[in-house]
Point group: D2
Chain length 393, copies 4
């Protein structure tokens, strides 16, 4: 989807609502840029804060026409409007994903939800059941699979270019929680280290689930079981901040996953390496426009977004030529644009572009919650191998 | 200007018009994304094509409310409206910059213009004179100085962290014109290799001026004279495709500039290195979020956009934390956002944020045209040292 | 130990013997270069092959004056000579390390032995006991700790620059055993995949022990227990070829170790990352002259071998200025030179340079064998946490 | 020439003498390591210092059996011995290359000489004439063409894989002369900045000639003329420290050469890029084991020393597998080993391995002196294009 083909056949932009993500919340502003970038949405309704006054004033400041006090009021009111929102973006702390998603699904509105899906598997399964029953579109913002080169990796793996997969190395390291910053009132750290709002996983839920989804997405394999060692290194912290996981996948593949927020020198270091019988590949989020691919016995090749030899999946998510870096916003925008394509196709009564279906859905969210639970279980039981389906329900 | 502080005090978005850049023109779509990204503009008027019918239909497709047949009609009509556009973006081939800019300046409308400013120095000087006389805002889209790390480099150089500058290495290499693609009808190549539309410089005007501006912007120095060797390697090509320039700057600094569009393996390889008496630095457009800085006798340090030790100029142009790559669109958006800040401040009767003034203006455009002429002159005269001011006018 | 200070005070070179490593054996030639590079040894005696005729002829071809049929003859004969060898280098397949080392230690000759030390813990402990009893010098060629930047890492960690260590990531990936090359008679693969000659560990013994030693060496920590998943991916292979290990260290540090010889695109990819409470560092064998060091909240610094801010341990192992790459041979030579320093000091009746004591010894070898056994045990027992000391003896 | 085939058929090592390079002189020790590394030489005679007493004592310390007071005595004495040296290595400041080389050539001894060849073109031509007349072997230690990947580059260019060459970028940047270190008595800087000992070129002769030779060696092209700007940035310095050169080559290729010793952050940054009609390549001395090669319209490939797809020229200079870095010493050793091969072949009455002839000879030295003179001439004449043959004689 080059920038040049920026035009939707729909004679209007989709109407988007947002819950959470008021001024000051980093990720809310990112969602808004992402929704705006490809010009497929117009943000027309919002309940941006859990404080009803702030919720109204924040929407006004952002020139959002329909400002609501809270998500319940918003879901109810929008459901009644002829020009109601096509989709709602849920950008709250984790514990609110479930009630908000449920309310809007009940109102017949498509959902774009931040990850992890919920803080309990029961809630996750309930949302999945609702989505299946209603047929509504549910997108989960695992941002990193919006990167074209991640999609290229998937296409190459599924196309057999690596042969059967043997080993996956995925890691996601940061350093911003190396000290007890939550004690000093840093807002981002505060809710993420509060189990009541983040759910049982800290680092595990926040970034471990991204790494897990990335490994599953790019290989198309199913994780069967995990053996893990979950740590909390920072004194006083209430959730994990370093997670080591060994994994076994369908087809005999194995994997290591490491997620850490206490690794000084790592900014947002998400890296993926996949090794098959015939070839291997490597990708890093901090250099997202490149993919290194090596067929056994041949010279490593550098695949460049927008460059030579990229496939349809990557090209669908590419806006500008190689050498002009696309970044985090564009990956995020791709998630939004893919969901827009799905919604637009629904409205127009046609099949969506198949590449738009690569965006993660509610069942990926269920899978992520299972992963969180299994990893915590395994670690509690001396790193015993723990099947994903058995993990606490 | 973090994403979190995305709110302008103005109670509306600025109204933007666009001339040129219809569907199919790569750079038009880029301008639209750039204008939209920080939510400071609404694109409300356009004359997108030199073909009047296409001009109308293209605007319709893009949901632009006020569609005009051509730029003259648009300038005249907008001038009359109470809700007229605040600024026009000129996204045409080079030879049209001058008449379009002149028309909108005459209508009292601020201008955002692609580079190089004009195809002749006379036109450039005339535009400069009009801008000075009218006091209108004129922004030139030298995209690359929208990158935060480029601004960081400038701040460090001007702050004396490198000491007096001795040597500058700047290069801009691409490979997309390695063969005679213009002969096969590639639209981007076609007008860029046609002197009637691109002006006298080919590679020199298209990317050499970017490299030149980058060197001047980051050092704050004035280029006094050039000795150059300008080549056309591809048979049948009507403009240059490889340019070597030695430069002498105010204060005794020297520089090499190399611009090439026939260097296989280079996608959009703009690189800058600056060496002073005390320290050196290095930046590359294809890895734009990092800057390497080395004080003589100390260990090289990696400065990261959004990371430790960045200054006010870089932070003003930063939206998200380090490790989350920003790219070409965000650099381009910064140019638009800086101009929005200037326009908004004008409307609000206050001084603009000083960092917004880093965006290049009409006099940078004049300087760029002087550079083109001096380089061509020098090369014609056996690489003789040629002062910039003496270059053809 | 700069090249400039290449002179030993001893009025002769040390006399070196070699067992194993005949022409065709890659590592034998490497040992000879390493011994020669710093001019501290003269290779005067050898039993280069298990075939007695080849043993004699190979020594002749290499201009080695004293050629022996086998190691027993050599140990006996050298023991009797007034000008007997100062040290013997053992460069055989793993299963021969024990008998050869025992024979030369019995002859009162210092030993330089390839890793892993032995194929059983009983043999390892016996060698350790002999070394302790005789006081002879025993060096183990964990080549990679000969690299100056590895020693720099150790010095920084032990000097407290990282604070207490929390997490270690070490990996050693290769791809040369991705297919069943041993079946096609490749000599290097043949003995390494034969448990009778390599010992119980395949990839684990060959490269896993290097990674393990590197983690211990650089942090000074003791590995308490391991939980592992050991795989043989290539059908028909008799030893492991991919090893995943989670480790717990003294002081609460944790670690991941991954060793693989079936990872296409990895040549000799040994990488180490260490994270403490205050800082983190990263080193990679394929770019051995650099170390990246990041103090939390500061900019990453690139430490260069021979460059600014390196410490005594690194400088001792540095021959030429920064920017002039030293490589694998020089690291290997450092192991030899450190042992030469120890032997020379012994002869001269003085204390050796303390940095020369960084070379691994017999107890590091015992530790490595314990590691092999513990990892295999853990994997057999469903990845149960297995203490190192309890591992099979 | 893999390490495994380390055996010469000659039944002895070659006898090497050395003039200059006493303890304390960096490059002398490097030459000795280089000569020793592949075991083709035995250093048996030396006049290591211009001070006759030091000359004797230094040789004793290094265990060199035949110690001479000065080069004249050495040349005369060696000429008379039946076991006289096969070759002499000249490791003095530049102004002594001529008389020493002349003396040993007169004695019928092969010469290995540091670069630049001489300080005047007259001396250079005289040496060339003597070499031609005597048929003696004369090797010039342009170290960097000893790197396997440099030879790979040459083989690919000459094999037509890049098509006709259009543009060459070569640069050699260092920072060790950024301040006036010669004033503080630093020995390395002292003679290199003294025109009486270094010759007319400072940076130009010391490293510019390396860059020049590298460009010529890898492309096989002849430099026709230069336009240059030669600078001395450090106050009080008596020679140049920054050199910019535009070059024109046979066949229409053009080039930029930049050599600088005042560029903070550059350790020994020699880089080469070559662009032809069909492909481009890039190599950097600080990462010498890799070469990036891009065929137009294809993905860049990373060629690794010892890895897949390397040719005969690179393999001849390769000792160990890919992933095990070879460095500066090994490149230097290759120069020595190539000359050893030439000398050995002469002794054995056979043709040398053709790859050994890649080592630079006396005529490359003449060419380098012409380059120095032409660059200085051009700069003095306002950067006028100056043919190489016309440069001062």
């Amino acid at each position: 989807m080059a920038v040049g083909s920026e035009v939707s056949k729909l004679d209007r932009r989709l109407r988007l609502g947002m819950v959470g993500g008021g001024p000051g919340a980093f990720i809310g502003a990112v969602h808004r840029v992402a929704a705006r970038l490809d010009d497929r949405y117009e943000l027309v309704a919002a309940a941006l804060s859990s404080d009803s006054e702030k919720s109204i004033s924040a929407a006004r400041e952002l020139h959002i026409p329909r400002a609501y006090k809270d998500f319940s009021e918003m879901a109810a009111a929008e459901a009644e409007r002829p020009d109601r929102i096509d989709a709602v973006a849920i950008v709250t702390p984790n514990h609110m994903h479930y009630p908000v998603a449920k309310a809007f699904l009940a109102a017949g509105i498509h959902v774009i939800c931040d990850k992890p899906l919920t803080t309990t598997i029961e809630h996750a399964l309930e949302l999945s059941e609702i989505v299946e029953r209603t047929g509504l579109i549910f997108g989960l913002t695992h941002t990193y699979v919006g990167y074209p080169m991640v999609r290229q990796a998937r296409e190459m793996v599924l196309g057999g270019e690596l042969g059967p997969i043997r080993m996956i190395q995925v890691e996601y390291a940061q350093d911003w929680l190396t000290t007890n910053v939550e004690a000093s009132g840093m807002k981002q750290a505060d809710w993420r280290t509060d189990p009541a709002r983040s759910g049982p996983g800290g680092c595990l839920g926040d970034i471990g689930t991204h790494a897990f989804h990335l490994a599953c997405f790019t290989t198309g394999l199913t994780c069967l079981s995990v053996a893990s060692d979950v740590s909390t290194f920072v004194p006083g912290r209430r959730v994990d901040d370093n997670v080591q996981v060994m994994m076994r996948f369908s087809g005999g593949a194995k994997a290591n996953l490491w997620a850490s927020q206490i690794a000084p020198g790592n900014e947002n270091n998400l890296r993926l390496r996949i090794y098959g019988e015939k070839a291997g590949l490597s990708w890093a989020q901090e250099d997202p426009n490149h993919l290194t691919f090596t067929t056994l016995g041949q010279q490593p090749r550098l695949i460049s977004r927008g460059g030579s030899g990229t496939g349809g999946a990557a090209n669908w998510a590419t806006r500008i030529p190689s050498g002009h870096p696309e970044g985090y916003f564009e990956a995020f925008a791709q998630i939004y644009t893919d969901i827009a394509e799905q919604i637009t196709a629904r409205i127009e009564g046609r099949a969506p572009n198949p590449y738009s279906l690569l965006v993660p859905g509610v069942d990926d969210g269920v899978y992520g919650v299972r992963f969180i639970n299994a990893v915590l279980d395994s670690s509690r039981r001396g790193s015993a191998w723990t099947p994903l389906h058995a993990a606490k329900l």
